[in-house]
Symmetry: C2
């Protein structure tokens, strides 16, 4: 037998790390566990009955075509429907500015592949989506975190970091942003802040990756323009997905941006998986065409709003003094901060024993700070589980805080 | 507007090439075109009626679960069914030795990612599958082609190349093989040849990537053991796919090999696409469970055998003297060789004008030889189109040969 497979691994193969979140999720299979950990949509939002009709119609009318290889750019009908839908929402793009990917995780991976050389710097939020950070690191990127305030990434800190890195001769490839209901912080960037960031990106000729999985799940407040709508220099690449507005089990996302950049992403996609499943793309296209997506979104938003309200209500009721949390206007997550030295990794161990789980905040900080924070998902659990889970979690937090004082 | 997106591209982003085959396929949309170019399964083999029942049953019984995120390793039921099926075919593996990928193209990509550092050497057949070669090149691999004879890769040439590269201080990562009905050559390696290659891989401690998409499409002759069945040192990673035995539109493949290597592929898959569509995996699992895959395979093999027979019959009838071709015992392709200086790229241009297409052989030779060869697909076109296509193609070849003499 081969002794150590490690001896065959590439530099990247040796250094890649498992996602902390996906590893936590794997141990949460006990039915009595209440999980606030994953970014899972509520199963109640999956339109199973509508999909039964849709899949039958696709197989009936497009059977052979839906089961064959498709073109790498994505199903033409789905792309056209998405272009039309964006136009209706005020974003005027051509077909060549939109391609389909196998979930938006694939878009993060392919963007990293075509843009990042080992040692290139990526500027990201402190905190920021772990799956994005891991995708960039896998290609040898250096991650530099920029602190957030209540409006998102801080422009002065962003600019001073750019100046500092440039002085050191470092190459900065892009700024990674999640402007709407940020994962994990739940913060939304107002338009003025978006414009500030765009101006900095222009000034220093840096690209912007705008990751927008939650945008359509807004409970309240005014929709902010996309960064790619505000950016007049065409340096923004925006990522969308059906995972949070329809079903993650389909693995379909889409990317909007400069045609020259998308062309290169398509080339990378040819070797990555040839094309995204033609079958699921045709199912989604027909689902949109029949107006069912809009119908289901209304239902999803209503359910998640109710769960967020209940979650923050339970926090107020049960959490000890000194614990604070963000109150997101949409999305799937809120972010909880505990007093100074309270360690969320220690809390997670005890919480799992009491059958409640979350993701420790430090996972999302590329500089490994944020040890006293945690990401809480409010989309997956029902109202009863939310209350019981918050109760259990608040008890562990209380114990940990008093042990530390 | 950003002037040149190229200035942002990584070294890999700048150097990656479009697949010659997928680019040819895109121009072949005219309905009057007879295409022997793609590796497309016959749409007649897609079990549309059976799948209607299956997708309904999946949505009925596993709706929410099939629409949710799945684990990165793949659907547990599908993996168990595949392990059992391999056991029934004489390959005894554990669950940890099998994972699911988004088509076998993703497996090629992820294997390249975890194994290849820029400058590492990969040994491949002359010719060999372009999608594999492009995946390896994308990670900076140097490709070294080893000539084939009628039994596949030549062991003496393989060994002398290894010795030569080692003398030069080069690192060789793996040997890439398609032992059954090789793409594009249509050649099958007999067991004795497989054992010779395994012995060389052991002697020099090199891994073997066994790509096996066509294995189950055998028309005649005796099934040869898989390389991973014969290899007692566990250095073989074997790739399978549902694309040729069920439907490429699902994008589902699987990989068998050393658990330590698969574990690293799973880590890479987390950042590549999180997981393969749970929905299509559950559809395929139920399809297999009901015994429908075996039923459909019988039908597919019968159809392709008939088409191959007709194709080689038409070659005998129409092709000018000096043209030779392989007669594969299975798979989807045969390989045609023309007299010395006849250039298949020049022929393709004229052939497309007459509405028949193929892939020029040089695409499959990493050293860009093989200009007088072409890959012909016999699975996609019906008998009438096969005859008409061969007739048109033979006329162009005849003209090109006489123009050259």
């Amino acid at each position: 037998m081969i002794k150590s497979p490690e001896s065959f691994f590439s530099h990247s193969g040796k250094s890649m790390k498992r996602s902390a979140i996906r590893e936590i999720l794997k141990v949460l299979t006990k039915p009595e566990m209440i999980s606030f950990a994953g970014g899972l949509p509520a199963p109640e939002t999956f339109p199973v009955e509508d999909l039964k009709k849709i899949v039958l119609e696709v197989l009936e009318k497009n059977g052979p075509e839906s089961l064959q290889y498709g073109i790498t750019e994505g199903d033409l009908k789905l792309r056209r429907l998405l272009v039309e839908r964006h136009k209706a929402h005020g974003l005027d793009i051509a077909l060549e500015n939109l391609i389909i990917t196998t979930g938006s995780q694939q878009a993060l991976d392919l963007i990293a592949r075509i843009l990042i050389d080992p040692g290139d710097y990526i500027l990201c939020g402190l905190p920021s989506y772990l799956g994005g950070l891991n995708a960039f690191s896998a290609y040898g990127a250096k991650l530099k975190g920029i602190p957030l305030d209540e409006s998102g990434m801080q422009p002065d800190k962003l600019e001073s970091t750019i100046v500092h890195l440039r002085e050191l001769g470092r190459k900065i490839k892009f700024i990674y942003l999640i402007p709407d209901f940020q994962n994990p912080a739940g913060i939304t960037m107002p338009e003025s802040r978006r414009l500030q960031i765009i101006r900095i990106a222009e000034k220093y000729n840096i690209l912007i990756i705008e990751d927008s999985p939650y945008r359509e799940i807004r409970f309240e407040g005014e929709q902010q323009k996309l960064i790619c709508q505000l950016d007049t220099s065409g340096r923004t690449i925006t990522l969308f997905t059906f995972s949070k507005i329809l079903a993650p089990g389909f693995r379909v996302g889409w990317v909007i941006g400069n045609a020259g950049i998308l062309d290169r992403i398509v080339t990378a996609k040819q070797t990555a998986d040839l094309c995204t499943s033609a079958f699921v793309q045709k199912v989604i296209a027909l689902y949109i065409e029949k107006g069912l997506l809009e119908k289901n979104l209304v239902k999803t938003i209503k359910l998640y709003r109710e769960r967020r309200n209940h979650m923050t209500g339970c926090f107020k009721k049960y959490m000890p003094e000194g614990v604070t949390w963000t109150e997101p206007q949409g999305g799937l997550f809120l972010f909880l901060t505990m007093p100074g030295k309270t360690d969320s990794e220690a809390i997670l161990k005890k919480a799992i024993e009491r059958n409640v789980a979350f993701v420790p905040g430090a996972s999302f900080f590329c500089n490994r700070t944020g040890c006293n924070t945690m990401r809480i998902n409010f989309s997956y659990s029902d109202l009863k589980d939310i209350e019981e889970g918050v109760k259990r979690l608040s008890e562990v937090i209380k114990e940990e805080i008093s042990a530390n004082t």
